[in-house]
Symmetry: C2
């Protein structure tokens, strides 16, 4: 990145800061008066002209002030001093609800964050793909249905009703239960491969086909790995005129309504996180891995509970959002979640009180 002398930096900073507040193109005179550098508007004008040439600023039309380009925003974001004494969201009230359902927790969390930031917010619940099977339980529902309940590490529970052609005796069921548990317990989803499966089937003898469908269902049920997506505050975009024209609003809201698109987005983000190693990501305009958001910025925090169990909180807003506030808050949430849920992870095997989960 180009080097800017100190004065240019200050001016650029001042311009962007002002623009973030007002959303209006900012003129030389404003900066001359507001900033603490004692410079006339003419001087500022010259510098602005330079900054425009360098690609940090642009003007919507000849006789308007300047607004930041994406490059300008990037400069700004990269220079944010990480959270001094900004007030920070506290989720401890929410965390009390920890032994309630995850689902409920995330619903509350997402609306809490959206409420506080006044921005559209999306959260993905921790994905469990690398989680281990704790135990599987099959039971008879009626003569042609059996119920399979799979409990994963973290007490995530999934269940499914399977149709069978012939009734199973309780005895047979017991045997199948033992068989399945012997082989699956402690394995992650990835580790349950064809080898394992055929071994189990072999030992199941006449019940091989049942095993087959049980295992399929188990895999199906668990690896139903569209991320669980929670959203809130979509309509907050209307607070920003620059995103409110109906064209934009429709595109945005449509994307926000489509959980699959969002899941893709989160997946992409999580890949980036894996590469970059930092949990906090800022995407400005085109940087975001989704076209419909080229006029927005996306700030994400990916929390990691270990064992590949992770989720992401994302906040979407106009490019001129209050990055500092959003970033510090997301960072704090990330830490809090990691601490609280993570601790639960740690202690679960001893005295844990981890929540329950939806199927």
């Amino acid at each position: 990145m180009e080097k800017l002398n100190e004065r240019k930096e200050s001016i650029l900073y001042a311009i962007i800061a002002n623009y973030l507040e007002t959303g209006e193109p900012v003129g030389s005179r404003t900066i001359s008066k507001s900033s603490d550098l004692k410079l006339s508007s003419a001087t500022i004008r010259n510098e602005m002209s330079d900054l425009e040439e360098l690609g940090f600023l642009t003007s919507p039309h000849t006789s308007a002030g300047r607004i930041p380009t994406d490059k300008g925003y990037r400069f700004y974001v990269d220079h944010i001093i990480s959270s001094k004494d900004r007030e920070v969201l506290e989720v401890k009230d929410l965390m009390i609800a920890q032994n309630e359902k995850m689902e409920k927790f995330f619903k509350e969390l997402v609306s809490y964050v959206a409420q506080n930031t006044q921005l559209p917010t999306v959260i993905s619940a921790p994905s469990i793909t690398k989680n281990r099977v704790k135990f599987v339980q099959l039971s008879n529902v009626d003569e042609d249905h059996i119920l399979s309940v799979v409990v994963m590490d973290g007490n995530v529970v999934r269940n499914n009703v399977i149709k069978v052609l012939n009734p199973l005796s309780n005895d047979a069921l017991l045997k199948l239960n033992i068989l399945i548990n012997t082989h699956l317990t402690g394995l992650t989803l990835q580790q349950i491969n064809l080898g394992t499966i055929s071994k189990i089937k072999e030992q199941a003898g006449e019940y091989a086909d049942i095993i087959e469908s049980v295992l399929n269902t188990v895999a199906d049920t668990i690896s139903d790995d569209d991320l669980e997506i929670y959203t809130s505050g979509a309509t907050n975009i209307f607070k920003y005129p620059e995103l409110s024209d109906s064209q934009n609003a429709i595109r945005f809201l449509t994307t926000f309504e489509d959980k699959e698109d969002l899941a893709d987005l989160i997946n992409d983000v999580q890949e980036d996180v894996a590469k970059s190693g930092t949990g906090l990501q800022v995407y400005i305009g085109d940087e975001a891995p989704i076209q419909t958001m080229k006029d927005c910025s996306l700030v994400t925090a990916t929390y990691d509970l270990g064992d590949g169990v992770k989720g992401t909180i994302g906040i979407i807003g106009p490019k001129r959002m209050d990055y500092e506030k959003v970033m510090t808050n997301l960072n704090s949430l990330k830490n809090q979640i990691e601490k609280t849920l993570g601790r639960a992870e740690e202690t679960r095997k001893n005295n844990g009180n981890a929540g329950d989960e939806k199927v």
Copy 2:
């Protein structure tokens, strides 16, 4: 309601039909030319004047055409001849997925309907409050957690992890299982009253407290009776300029995002259905039991699978929506759902293949 002579009816009908199509105030000349009654614009004007006096029409301003009042719409809706040979939505493709999860089914259904009607759509999954308990299964997760799985009629499954203070022996667990099942099987939620509970607790002896928490959790889990709400197509309101001004759009979208509001709405609708006895309801403007929709109409179909298991499909649109199409389609969907899911209900005990459910 006032009697209108035949000519007035035809004219009113023609005016409304035209307005539904165009969304523009309709003038006397248009009707004079388009309708098959051979009348001059002057005559039509006189009749229109009468209709305005009678409260069926109104004009936005002196020199504009006429638009229907709510009373006009009501006249129109009440006179719709029920579905001649309109094409009708077929959900059979969707129904194939019947052995998949309900949740998935409704997600697909709601987006399918929204897609086809190009209108915001809301669906409530069948509520299960009057459903019977089929069986309950407790199992040990680890030394201080037990898992309770409750299967309801219709193979609706709910599960929850309960924390216990002292580990339970498998033996004790078995006894509890038998005890609970003996007393609860076949009961609806309403039937599980204090009497039943204290009887069970008495018999549970030293495990009374566990029973207590199990029962609580069971009740909690099941009667978590915020209706399950699915929505889709919210952004379709932007297709109608009269609803697209940002004021309106924000209010509407906010309501549509808030599942609780929608649940209330559906509850109100279901009460109306109970009173009126008909599954199909049309609310025009203020008639809808929700303020934020006073500029919209709401068409609902409530399907009833018997035993108090019912759900509602609702479509929200501008007052000038294509009522005929929407009503016939909703009616058809209602019938299809009742037939398919209802049949499953019937036959479940024999050869059913009903789906599974989320917690």
